[in-house]
Amino acid sequence: MIGMRLPAKTAIYLLVGVSVLLVAFPLLWMVAAALKTQSQIINPNASLLPLPPRWGNIATAWDVAPFGTFFLNTAIFSVVTTVGQIATGMLAGYAFAMFDFPAKRVLFYLVMSGLMIPFTVVIVPVVQLLADFGWVDTWQGLLVPNIASALGCFLFRQYFLSAPLELGEAARIDGASEWRIFWSVYRPLAQPMTAAFTVIAFLQNWNNFLFPLVVTSSEHLMMISQGLTIFQGQITGTAYNLLMAGSLIAVVPVLIVAMIAQRKVVEGLTIGALR
């Protein structure tokens, strides 16, 4: 916009400021409430600012529930499922893009039908299936159903469809095995897609709430989202400073990672939604 007038510029910056505040106000409220005393919370006329800040609230909250275990479990779950989704999605996407084989179309549509079946629709039989395996409330039950991603398969197929075939042909003439061609030639080529998909898959797995909620009940298997609900049950009273301190504990690590990797997060969320 060349030659925009000053009032117009000011108005735009002002509106952007308001939009930013719209995103930020719950988080600011959380931080303020997390650092208040009980009486500051209960008094409706007390200042909105937590003065002096009670940093001890965060330590108190940390001691109420095993947040260390929750974080460790969330990390294990997110890393294993994300790596699994990338591996299985990339392999299948590669095969669907690069090979011709009998029943290819049928198999592809079968996998893609996974995109059309929301997990929420099949939640009851999936849990019963896991019960039949004896996998309810176990790590297998948490991980195995989540290591395949139809979306990943689709995105990687799209990516490999536009990859040059000549590279593989040259490697084949040199006597490279099919696995070698995949691993050394095409996998590195897909690096940008891998990075973007890793970000969306990891965030989604980290924040997965419904699946662990219906599959696990033991505290030693719980992840941060479900752990927070346990934490809520263990603190009582109408003063929610500890509840906000617990939420703060859950929010801050993700916030830091997302801000560091912001470019990839934006990219991943854009392609993930448009699929």
Binding site: M1, I12, V16, S19, V20, V23, P26, L27, W29, I42, N43, T88, G89, L91, A92, F99, D100, F101, L107, V111, S113, L115, M116, I117, P118, T120, V121, V122, I123, V124, P125, V126, V127, Q128, L129, A148, A150, C153, L165, F209, L210, V214, S225, L228, T238, Y240, L243, M244, G246, S247, A250, V251, V254, L255, A258, M259, V265, L269, T270, A273
Partner: protein, 297 residues
């Protein structure tokens, strides 16, 4: 020899495809078949003592508040989509203006999407605390009546507001990508010809974005139909079922009521929810292929 898709290595191809295929069949397709089949049988939550019931479960869904749950789903999803679209489009237009600093702000809008929704749900839960929550403090100082999650209307507005706050950043991102793909020369030509900002928006940008707008609406609708955490934390489907969506009905019948629930009812509602999602997804596919044909995507 010209390069060609390999026909020789069937075994490699099948091995590569197998993991995703097997897991999709086992954890999506087979369970869907099971849901449809079992929605026709009556039994307890443990799935024993089954007896064929025909469409009995579907009739019972509507006798046990399922019809109301579908209305709640429609109201919630419509409200959610409208708020997300308006906020998302408006803010994307703002951020698309070429002024210093605006590109950097973009990343800010992903925060509600990426932080755990249970945590942000607790924040929104405290907003409505009687007397001491942020909203009630603000209403109080303005001399207005209080809002409460135990009031049905307030509760519905609360879950829509929180759901939209959590998701609208996604709409901002997609619209920004769409706006960036618009032909700059057309907009600049219009600008040179004396078209004002509003005219350029109304007559050039809006028509060019029609396909993307429809697509974003569909994506947001599918997302809205999946809403769970927001309702679980804020209202637990209450008060008196005011925020019980179709999915929440499934959850309560399948898991939330213990032995008082009914898998038959959960299955029947799951099938209804699936048919709704499927209809929306088919619209999505039609839109995507139309956009691909016209080269707008």
């Amino acid at each position: 020899m010209p390069p060609s898709r390999r026909a020789r290595h069937w075994s490699t191809a099948y091995t590569f495809v197998l993991p995703v295929l097997a897991l999709t069949v086992l954890f999506s397709i087979m369970p869907l078949v099971l849901v449809i089949q079992r929605s026709l049988y009556r039994g307890n939550v443990f799935g024993t003592n089954l007896s064929f019931a025909g469409l009995g479960n579907y009739v019972d869904v509507f006798r046990t508040g399922g019809g109301h749950a579908l209305v709640v789903t429609a109201v919630y999803t419509a409200g959610f989509v409208v708020v997300c679209m308006l906020l998302g489009f408006g803010i994307a237009l703002l951020l698309d203006v070429r002024l210093p600093g605006l590109r950097q702000v973009r990343a800010f809008f992903v925060i509600p999407l990426v932080v755990p929704s249970v945590a942000t749900a607790f924040i929104w839960f405290t907003f409505f605390q009687p007397g001491t929550g942020l909203f009630n403090r603000a209403l109080n100082s303005a001399g207005l009546p209080q809002v409460s999650l135990s009031n049905p209307t307030d509760a519905v507005i609360a879950v829509i507001a929180f759901g939209a706050w959590q998701y609208f950043g996604e709409v901002v991102l997609i619209y920004l990508a769409a706006l960036k793909s618009l032909p700059r020369d057309v907009l600049e030509a219009a600008s040179v010809d004396g078209a004002g900002a509003w005219q350029r928006l109304r007559h050039i940008r809006f028509p060019l974005l029609r396909d993307q707008t429809a697509l974003i609406m569909v994506i947001a609708t599918l997302y809205g139909l999946q809403t769970f955490t927001q309702i679980y934390i804020l209202t637990d489907g209450g008060p008196q079922g005011a925020t019980q969506t179709a999915l929440y009905y499934v959850y309560q019948q399948g898991f939330g009521l213990g032995a008082g629930g009914s898998t038959g009812l959960a299955d029947a509602m799951s099938v209804i929810l699936f048919l709704i999602s499927l209809a929306v997804a088919i619209i999505q596919i039609t839109l995507v292929s139309r956009a691909a044909r016209t080269g707008a995507a």
